[in-house]
Symmetry: C2
Subunit: 304 residues, 2 copies
């Protein structure tokens, strides 16, 4: 296991899968606690495990998942984050918040700099996630200010890779699953909206640099994502190419409410303060991801 | 008591004063529960009182008060609001959220329309309040969408009137108290930042119209405030005039971080859908407020 560390995972598996970590379960330095950040007793975890680094990623993250129980999504990001901060604080552990490009809402500034305050509609179907994450950031800010905690807040832009759920509901896994099934790719809206896709290995690198390898914490949030922007229509063509299915069509469906039209991180801060930038090309990352989905072909087959 | 209703007040009195409601305490149709929206058992309140209308105003509201315990401020607006929504929902009561112009942060659109998504810095000293209220709005939105509740979300702009605390910390009471003490008026920043001041009676009218008198709920948040904009320097002159102290000086001190530079509501929606607009002039409201502070002169005297 990386760095010789013992890893304790707390997950309610509401949107993940134990299958994704099955290769770790027999390792004596790995433990899975099947539980909920909102309900767990921080003192009990601290007494038993004394963590030195807390990576707080707990939240549903794709719109169909986080809109399934929106009040729970919001509270998980507020109460769950407060609980994990309390846990980290009580044992002087470093704390990483997995924040999101969604704090920028449907941005009016492009590309997005960390100093941009965003444009989130509080009265919309994405707000349960966006506002929950914004509050989580504020809780981190206050824990730094009040208690001098070592924290890192990463605003993570679209990320993909092996072990995504076929029903994740975001565009990368949607397109791959549709293409494997030989279905036309479904685009919501006219397809000119853009996203920037980073491969999961690059994100993990950024997390380790920000929380483990640095001596001093970085002040404020840091964008972590790929600054190469693609339209959704372009991305559909790339996926069809990777899977050798240029014959598949594209169907345009109704755009989702409050769907961001453009999204691309300015990663100057990450470059300067973390010495980080993405290393994986979209093509290479996509090839790995497609291989993963092809290997577990059974679960992406169309229902009979 | 207005409309013959029984009124149950839930207040932790952390920033208010029992003195302000002492004239009601002997009325059999009035009850004060000294408690906390985050801790109270909604079922117990419902079983005992069966409210038909819930006006949710619980939160510290002035920067010195809400920054005293910022994590509590944020949680009070998130968990406290969820508890009060749960309470209202369980007895099919109508629900009013006292939201705030602070959801617009330091606005880049002027005047502010309800459709403007605001500019709040999540990593700043005002975020505990601003983000807490933004999340509270989202909780209301989801309770309307999921459960069809009758709700009203009022984005309340600067309001003043009798019974403000002398140590409230916002500009109206600060200036009046300083002028009564014969001290120079303290302005934070250069004094050209603007505010729009509404008198408390106008706000109460809006609340009753929005929650009690309407047959149908208004969709989405509604700005409630005075569309007349004043610079802080102008307002200092007005206060000095009202108190007959044109001789007093003005001292400019360092501006507060993230202090909004301009703030003025667009109240078209309130005019059209509530038939509401402010009736009180600044002069008349200020005269009433000054009279109140003069009457309780003892508590605003300088400390010896």
């Amino acid at each position: 296991m990386l760095l010789g560390a013992t890893v304790v995972v707390l997950d309610d598996l509401s949107t993940g899968s134990e299958h994704n970590i099955s290769h770790w379960l027999c390792n004596p330095k790995f433990m899975l606690i099947h539980g909920d950040t909102m309900l767990i007793d921080p003192d009990a975890v601290v007494a038993k495990h004394r963590p030195t680094h807390v990576f707080h990623l707990a939240s549903p993250a794709s719109p169909p998942h986080y809109q399934r129980d929106p009040v729970r999504t919001l509270m998980c990001n507020v109460q769950g984050t407060l609980n994990m901060l309390t846990l980290a604080r009580s044992c002087s552990a470093r704390f990483l918040l997995a924040s999101t490009s969604e704090v920028y809402g449907d941005p009016e500034q492009h590309p997005q700099l960390e100093s941009y305050n965003g444009s989130v509609n509080t009265f919309g179907p994405r707000a349960c996630y966006d506002e929950g994450k914004r509050c989580a950031e504020t809780l981190v800010y206050e824990h730094v200010r009040l208690y001098g905690m070592f924290t890192s807040t990463l605003r993570i832009f679209n990320t993909f890779g092996p072990r995504m759920q076929p029903d994740d509901g975001r565009v990368v896994s949607n397109f791959i699953v549709q293409a494997i099934r030989g279905e036309p790719l479904r685009v919501y809206g006219v397809g000119v909206q853009t996203r920037s896709f980073q491969f999961v290995h690059d994100l993990v690198d950024a997390m380790l640099i920000a929380l483990v390898f640095r001596e001093e914490p970085v002040d404020g949030p840091v964008n972590i994502g790929c600054p190469e922007e693609r339209t959704i229509d372009d991305f559909a063509s790339i996926v069809k190419g990777t899977l050798g299915r240029p014959d598949l069509g594209v169907v345009h469906e109704q755009a989702a409410i409050d769907d961001p039209q453009r999204r691309r991180p300015d990663i100057t801060k990450a470059r300067q303060l973390l010495g980080w930038q993405p290393k994986w090309s979209l093509d290479d990352g996509l090839a790995e991801t497609v291989d993963y989905f092809l290997l577990r072909n059974a679960s992406v087959k169309p229902k009979e």
